[in-house]
């Protein structure tokens, strides 16, 4: 519980002919953390298995097909028959070429539809002009403008002032009109200027050159062609969706299978190799060693050599935390911060004990605790993936109910229907603030000292008693000295303050010897750390304060009676919901901070490398 899983350093040696079997066995066992081999003179890096190339090629094709078809790889697939590599390759490549043909055809059709519908649009626009399309030929001496103008009557009157010779076709819409104006090329600039004055908006008719006859004659034909193309497009889309339906399960299953196979085939890249043999070095949980060795030997008919090596100084041992199931949820906090190193004490158990308590102290309200308990329990059912996180919050909610009972609070109220809730200590800002503050400080003293004791044990194991004594015991002396001083000056015990000074002086000397100047500089920090636990009170107070305000506000509405009772209920629900939200966030973050900043700094180094066994996802 307090230690990470014990690891063995292992070396596996064998002829290359047995490598595939060895890899397969290790992959299935999922217990071996392979150390990547660095190239040295005698031991080259092993090359991947031959089939890796084939597998990678098919895998890439499968993935590209899936992304074309929009298949979600994470979906569960129905179990189906698995194809052999050769057969799969043929199938996948046939699928790919089929799809590609479909996609190409789709592309052609789409561009044809685009072109035709553009033409159709232009024709529809000038249809009302009743003009033959032959007019839009590129003439040598004529220039034409087609488009909309505003204020048509005025426009018509002012054309002769620009050019004596012109042709005009028009169709009027209200005050504006669609026009086709033909002028001599020599006057085209002047005509353009005139048109500008009437907010001319031209229509693109470049597509129409070369088509003969009236627009209406072409419109029907084009529309028919487009609808035929659209139908074709639908057919192809249906074909693609058929392909998708038929192959979805097969593709997903094989993608998963091939990914695993590829991982196995590429595993030798982490191994060392000579001409005809391979070397795997790695880490195994000690308890799994015998089982692994037996299995490897039986699979390869004793052609493989597997041995435990002594752990040397400077070896970076991978860390796999080992905690009972209840506590395991709290490993979340270690992942968030940093894994402990192999030799260090794993503080997960302490977090399990203290996190909910600190959280509960801050939120501390029976009503709030019960509400969050129900909410998180439902959320846990709804999102099983974040189960660990919600477990933590459920524990925290239970602690909240417990502290709520201590403080005698239910949704901020201290009495329910005239019945006064029993309590040990009150958090109501009107009384008992000093005892509450003292209580929070005592929690701080205990927590920080537990941290120091763990630090002492860590140092004891790593560097021996003398160093541990120097580095950690100084703090105890300092605290004891400060406590004696405080008690003697407050005249609670009758002892000369000199004893306190003496203890503090010893503490300072020990700290200087243990940690040097750094220790001296850090002396005030321990009092800062303990004072920091006063937040347990402070955050609680703010939450209680808000709750009381909400209750008083609602009470005012209730007393007014009538329709305002509804408003009162609304105030109660919204106010407490907001208060719970803020309280949860604040309590969670501050409880976390007390652990990371105040508690961990007393003993924790961290920086452990996570244990990633070969074959595990």
């Amino acid at each position: 519980m307090f230690k990470a899983t014990e690891m063995s350093k292992i070396v596996i040696l064998g002829p290359k002919t047995e490598m595939e079997k060895a890899i397969k066995t290790l992959y299935e066992l999922k217990v071996c953390h392979v150390i990547e081999h660095k190239k040295i003179e005698d031991l080259d890096i092993c090359s991947p298995m031959e089939k890796a190339n084939d597998i990678a090629r098919i895998l890439v094709k499968i993935r590209s097909i899936c992304s074309y078809l929009g298949i979600d790889m994470k979906l569960a697939a129905k179990k189906g028959e698995m194809l052999g590599i050769k057969e799969l390759e043929r199938h996948v490549f046939r699928l790919d070429s089929e799809l590609e043909a479909c996609l190409n055809e789709l592309k052609c059709i789409s561009s044809e539809i685009n072109e035709k519908s553009g033409l159709l649009k232009s024709l529809e626009e000038i249809k009302s002009l009743d003009i033959s399309l032959d007019s839009f030929y590129s003439f040598e001496t004529l220039k034409y403008f087609v488009g909309y103008v505003k204020g048509f009557e005025n426009f018509k009157k002012s054309i002769p002032s620009v050019t004596p010779k012109f042709g005009l076709q028009h169709k009027q819409f209200g005050k504006g009109a669609l026009i086709a104006l033909f002028v001599d090329k020599a006057f085209s600039d002047k005509a353009a200027k005139l048109l500008e004055g009437f907010e001319f908006r031209s229509i693109d008719i470049s597509r129409l050159t070369g088509i003969k006859g009236k627009p209406s004659a072409h419109i029907g034909r084009l529309a028919k062609q487009i609808s035929i193309l659209e139908n074709k497009k639908k057919e192809i889309n249906k074909k693609i969706s058929d392909i998708r339906k038929q192959n979805q399960d097969l593709l997903i299953l094989h993608e998963r299978f091939l990914s695993e196979e590829l991982e196995k085939a590429e595993a030798p890249l982490k191994f060392g190799s000579t001409e005809s043999s391979f070397v795997i070095s790695g880490w195994l949980p000690k308890k799994d060693f015998n089982k692994t060795a037996e299995l490897l030997n039986s699979k390869t008919k004793n052609k493989i050599f597997i041995k435990q090596m002594p752990i040397e100084k400077g070896d970076k041992v991978p860390v796999k935390l080992k905690n009972p199931k209840v506590i395991r949820s709290f490993e979340f906090f270690m992942d968030l911060y940093s894994l402990p190193s192999y030799k260090e004490i794993d503080p997960t158990f302490f977090i399990f004990l203290t996190f909910p308590l600190l959280f509960g102290f801050m939120l501390g309200d029976m009503g709030y605790g019960l509400t969050t308990l129900i909410v998180f329990w439902l959320l846990k059912k709804k999102f099983p993936k974040a189960k660990g996180f919600f477990n933590i919050l459920i524990f925290a909610s239970l602690a909240t109910v417990f502290f709520g009972a201590l403080f005698g609070e239910f949704f901020g109220a201290e009495e329910l229907f005239g019945w006064h809730l029993p309590r040990l200590i009150s958090r109501n800002p009107e009384h008992e603030l000093i005892p509450l503050m003292a209580f929070a400080a005592i929690v701080g003293v205990i927590h920080v000292n537990v941290g120091l004791i763990i630090g002492f044990i860590n140092e004891l194991k790593a560097h021996g008693f003398k160093r541990a004594f120097m580095e950690k015991f100084g703090w105890f002396f300092l605290e004891a000295g400060a406590a004696l001083l405080a008690l003697s000056y407050a005249k609670i015990i009758s002892i000369s303050p000199f004893a306190g000074y003496a203890l503090a002086a010893i503490a300072v000397i020990v700290l200087f010897l243990g940690e040097g100047t750094k220790g001296l500089v850090e002396i005030p920090s321990i009092f800062g750390n303990i004072l920091s636990y006063l937040r347990l009170m402070a955050i609680g107070l703010s939450s209680v304060g808000l709750a009381i305000v909400v209750n008083d506000l609602a009470k005012g509405f209730f007393h007014s009676g009538g329709f305002l009772i509804l408003a009162g209920i609304l105030v109660l629900v919204a106010g407490h919901a907001i208060n719970i939200g803020v309280g949860l966030l604040g309590s969670f973050l501050h409880a976390l901070r007390l652990h990371y900043v105040e508690f961990f700094t007393k003993f924790y180094k961290g920086g452990g490398m996570p244990f990633k066994p070969f074959g595990a996802k």
Binding site: Y337, L531, S532, L534, R535
Partner: protein
Amino acid sequence: MVDVGNVGIVAISAAFALGCSAFAAAWAEKAIGTAAIGAMAEKEELFGKGLILTVIPETIVIFGLVIAILILGLAGG
């Protein structure tokens, strides 16, 4: 001049203790928060650490609150 009396001065002192320390904490959090968000833009998994670092200066307010309560104690409730 309005005569605020002893209780008034005590109350103002308490307000100063809390207000100034809250301002200091806010200032510190602003600087840390900016840097944390910058770091998070580079590496999203720093969210947890950024959040923790951002709440660290909140201790300052708590010291302010404690002092304020002690000062109010002087007023005799």
